[in-house]
Amino acid sequence: MTQTWLIFGILSGFVSVGVALFIYFWVMRQDAGSERAQEVARWIREGAASYLKRLYTALTLVAVVLGFVIGIVFSFDLTQLGSGSVDISPTNGLIMAGAFIFGALCSAIAGYLGMAVAVQANVRSAVAVSDTLNKGFRVAFYAGAVMGLAMVGLAVVGMCVIFILTGNPEVVLGFSFGASTLALLAKAGGGIYTKTADIAADLVGKIEVGIPEDDPRNPAVVADNVGDNVGDVAGMGADIFDSYVASTVAAMLLGAAMTGGDSLKYTVFPLILCTLGIYASLIGIQFVRVGKNGKPGAALNFGTIFTCVAFTGMVVGLVLIGGYDLSVLWSTLIGLTAGVVIGNTTEFFTSEEFKPVQETAKVSNSGAAITIITGFSYGLLSIFPSIIGIVIATLVSYYISEASGVITGIYGIGISAVGMLAVSGMIVSADAYGPIVDNARGIAEMAGMEHEVIKRADVLDSAGNTAKAITKGFSISAAALTVLALFAAYAEVIEARGLTLEISLRNPLVTAGVLLGAMTPPIFSALTMLSVTHNAFDMIEEIRRQFREDPGILAGTSLPDYTRCVSMAAQGALSSLVLPAFLAVGLPLLVGFLLGPEALGGFLGGAIFTGVIFALLMANAGGLWDNAKKFIETGQYGGVGSNAHKASVVGDTVGDPFKDTAGPSLNTLITVMSLVSSLFAPVIAAFHLF
């Protein structure tokens, strides 16, 4: 029966990818508009393509080197390590290296497809919205669905194929590590790129030269629009792909660790949940429509709720008909509910309709310092509901599962993480919609479309911002549950090698590990944000140079050199990734080999706790400052040009790398660190200094 489910999973994955391709061609058939609009879109498309080319070239190198290392390490029979004589099996090494590269490849394909459609859909959405809001919305949302469906489809195909071929969830762990490594670099690189361009474009364009947002005279305007795609489409897509796969593989490992005849059944169960999630997303996507009230945000929310309801119905059917213990149903549902609730509490802290944003806007009248203090404080407070949600999901799923006597509590936690992420097809579709409509608005502006069109594009854009904020809260919380499950998986792998893992703070090695781990997310955040400031500084000089050397740019008689800024942003982002990548992959290994498995356990614990807290703080505070500025721009507290507005612009600029660079990369960081620890756990168990 499990084999049938796995084959059904592969077919469902192909169905998902097939529908994504069908939608892709539907999007391509839409009107691409005037010559001018197409020219602007071409600049963005070429900029995105040049970044992706550089990114994937660098990632290929990383994947080959890491794949080689993994191939060598896993060629040894790890169960015999430290025993004096070790069997060598190159096939094992090849399989693990292949799984790693396959994971990276699937993640790359999903990101590439998402980007490919996003840079085509942006102009088509701009043209469609000139007809009606609904048409513009449809083009953008369906284009986002290409990313969502391709992502979940490829992930399920990849995991099922590997499990069918090897029957070993530890090999699926290699697949997950490949996906996560790519995700980390894509997310952090995209985050650095997008904010470098955004900040440089704003600081010179708006503040120094006094030209409006998305003005084609700004040399960084194309890089800014490319950044929306590389950060929020390719980056966020890869990020959720990574969490999606990691949560599934963690639950599979915990299922495999369970004793008894049902072990295989529960090992495959996470994959079945993902498969059902595909169909729930496919159904939910059909129900995303802007009705007569013309509210895109409500349409996206309705789609998400409908997907969750459909998924719930399918899981209930599966558990009852398939003879699974009811505790897995409750664990799935608690995860799903927690994901939706946490996502929506994010909205409370980042939406203009609620007190945190309104109060931050109000106090901006007193200057930038108090804007920063207020926004930061609400960012800290925003941690509360998410952490409570994670705590409830963790405890309820654990104790319900333990009480069942059939599955372990920790497996229940793993299943709640899968439950949260199983509807990622819909979540990513809504998220990828955001940058597409953001681009559509920019293109409408640059192509000189009518104001009515720009106003409609603004309505679409506003809903996209909310969707993005919700997805960030959702993905961070999902990553938190995932890494808790991975942490347990790490312990299982270590204990399977005959070691006892006592992670107690009375052990100085564990304390050292906790402190080192707790330090890592803040250091990672600092490195990525400093990269943004360094790269933005260089780009600011370039923009100034172009304005200085060619007066025709500001006069509107000659075009700026857009490609120079695009190239600088790409080069800067990729060269900034070396140290953050080392922190993610090298530091856990260093701690493990030097201080031992228990210290590494402490390290993971420390990194998980500060990682989740920093990620929530930064994503929410950044979103809050952004929307406080937008709230003032609607005509509150003096509107544009007032002292409150000037202070809110400072807050927004500070928050930009918080919410789009460091914050969303942290969940990928802790996932990668947990995966690399679990993957290399057998080696660390055999070789460690202390």
């Binding site: 708006k206 006094g210 030209i211 200085r548 500001l554 040009g641």
Partner: protein
């Protein structure tokens, strides 16, 4: 190439130029090398205008193309007491240029708008530039400071804009600020409250407001008056600006 005469208000100057008004606005705002930035407000004068107070002919003679054939951008004819010596009949059109060089032409209207309900806020542009709150409508305000001053203070001519006060015009103490971007709002409220409770017609709000005028705060338009008469240059409604002058409107409202 024809030579145009421009009366600039920021700073006050009479300038001869071979540029069209739109080109002149862009040049004046951001400079030849596009290295500077700043609003410009100027009038296009009747090219036949001549006055014993200015050496216009001499300026026009010096206004010849450069050796490479490009037009001469500016010859300053006078930079002092210009407005008072230009008859308002010589003024043809007004031009508002944003800080990044987008220029909007405004035609004069037949008559000055009627005084509405509530208090008023005036930003004088030339020859002096304070921010003044007043109980008087534009016509009466002009008469008070140019034609029939009730105090020792008198201007020979003036150009000013009426700025929006929103709810503060009728409820200075409690009215919502909304999108009014003025600094030191408490002081503005106090000034407006004083006008409601004391026997004064005007109250100085700010002796030296920051240079430039947020065009989006202009209530109805610009007024220029001398001893002869007052002319009104209405700023188009926002809908018209968005529809017909979108680029200017975008720059003016950022």
């Amino acid at each position: 190439m024809a030579v145009n005469l421009f009366l600039s208000l920021i700073p006050e100057a009479l300038i001869a130029s071979m540029l069209s008004p739109e080109e002149f606005g862009a040049y004046y705002a951001v400079g030849t090398e596009k290295k500077s930035r700043g609003q410009a407000i100027f009038f296009e004068l009747d090219p036949k205008f001549r006055s014993k107070d200015f050496r216009i002919e001499e300026g026009i003679k010096r206004c010849v193309p450069h050796e490479d054939g490009t037009p001469k951008r500016s010859i300053y004819i006078s930079v002092y007491r210009v407005l008072e010596n230009v008859p308002v009949n010589a003024i043809k059109k007004m031009y508002l240029t944003t800080q990044d060089g987008r220029t909007l032409p405004i035609e004069p209207a037949g008559k000055v708008p009627a005084d509405g309900e509530g208090l008023h806020l005036y930003r004088e542009i030339s020859p002096v530039s304070p921010l003044v709150a007043s109980t008087l409508g534009p016509q009466d305000f002009y008469e008070l400071i140019v034609k029939n001053p009730s105090s020792l203070v008198k201007l020979p001519a003036v150009c000013f804009a009426e700025l929006r006060l929103g709810n503060l015009a009728t409820d200075p103490q409690h009215g919502e600020v909304g999108d009014l971007p003025y600094g030191n709002m408490e002081h503005l409220r106090n000034c407006l409250t004083d006008l409601s409770t004391k026997q004064v017609h005007t109250k100085m709000v700010d002796r030296m407001p920051s240079s430039g005028i947020p065009f989006r705060t202009v209530k109805n338009g610009f007024f220029v008056g001398s001893q002869e008469k007052l002319i009104y240059f209405p700023l188009p409604q926002e809908e018209e600006l968005v529809k017909d002058h979108y680029r200017w409107w975008r720059s003016a409202t950022m």
